[in-house]
Symmetry: C2
Subunit: 176 residues, 2 copies
DNA sequence: ATATCTGCAAAAAGTTTGCTCTACG
DNA sequence: CGTAGAGCAAACTTTTTGCAGATAT
């Protein structure tokens, strides 16, 4: 098992994309999408996001970088990227869809039911098992999610708890 | 892996509840809720549901039994029962919330992303793995959920397809 | 050149709510 | 009886869309 480390940096340039483009912008190019100014900004915001922003939040962040962007465009972009498999839509309740880059790798959430902290983790064994289950039911697994709700073990038998890897503390709480 | 078998039957009567009441109606009484005619009907519809109806579908089914029911009441009831822990709200994409009785026991969902159909399954191996993961992170697993989003395998290489056990055929298709 | 994309504003779609009247306990 | 609940319609929230003008390739 591996605790997630989100990558925000950029790799080498790709043909057809401007050199400063974000990873997601390059994916857009690869998928044959036109790279408008707005789209480039939204792609960058998405690439740099370390949380799970909803459309409103994406709009806010994108607007800071370039005010000539409308919500409708964010909605359209996010939908387009989801269809291309570049983005994944998440539903943590609260009525609005939230997004994260597929390239961030699949990770899961363990929620500490006492503190509310969210711990992200990856687990290849889990991916494999879920894919196998889907296959047994006659499906190709396109995406999936798993959320664990747990309580710290009282005994100090904890095996693995990387210090800074814990609570992500996303912005939007449920509609309490 | 075991396909689920929902229980729809009724147990013995409870004090304070009318004899013909559905299991969920009895839970309502137990929680101190007034049992109006409408609520009783909605409770019954929920108790008898073997799928994951959204509000519109609940409204349709309830209206068939008693036409004096409004959508607003369905919304209110469903929300109330969720707060009481009697119902669980599910988000399978497609924009609408869907509900199922908590008493139906633990199972997982595989959503056909093309049709919106939901297949339920149980899997002990999955439970074990998730518990182990939680333990490795220093937690006792209190509850969890897993949802798979898949697409029917094009090739006929399906391994395991119990003829009548599969497609539950929930009503709402994704927003295709 | 031209198909794609954007902004704007209007419209959908889903859900909540204020108010008044009804009816459960 | 008193208060939770129901109906109705209007309000809200989130997301989609039609159209005219802009722009990347």
């Amino acid at each position: 098992m591996v605790m997630s480390t989100k990558k925000t940096g950029r790799e080498s340039a790709a043909p057809g994309a401007a050199v400063g483009d974000s990873p997601i912008a390059r994916l857009c190019v690869k998928h044959g999408l036109k790279m408008t100014g707005q789209r480039r900004v939204i792609a960058r915001v998405l690439s740099e996001a370390e949380d799970h922003p909803d459309v409103e939040e994406l709009y806010r962040r994108a607007s800071e970088l370039d005010s000539r962007i409308s919500v409708a465009t964010v909605y359209r972009t996010v939908r387009l990227l989801e269809e291309k498999g570049i983005l994944e839509r998440r539903d943590f309740g609260g009525g609005r869809a939230r997004y994260e880059a597929s390239e961030n790798g699949h990770h899961y959430h363990l929620i500490d039911i006492d503190s509310g902290n969210v711990i992200e983790f990856e687990n290849d064994e889990l991916v494999g098992l879920l894919a196998r289950i889907a296959a047994e039911l006659g499906f190709d697994l396109m995406s999936h999610r798993a959320e664990l709700f747990g309580r710290r073990t009282t005994s100090g038998k904890k095996k693995d708890a990387p210090p800074g890897a814990g609570g992500e503390n996303d912005s939007s709480p449920g509609r309490a």
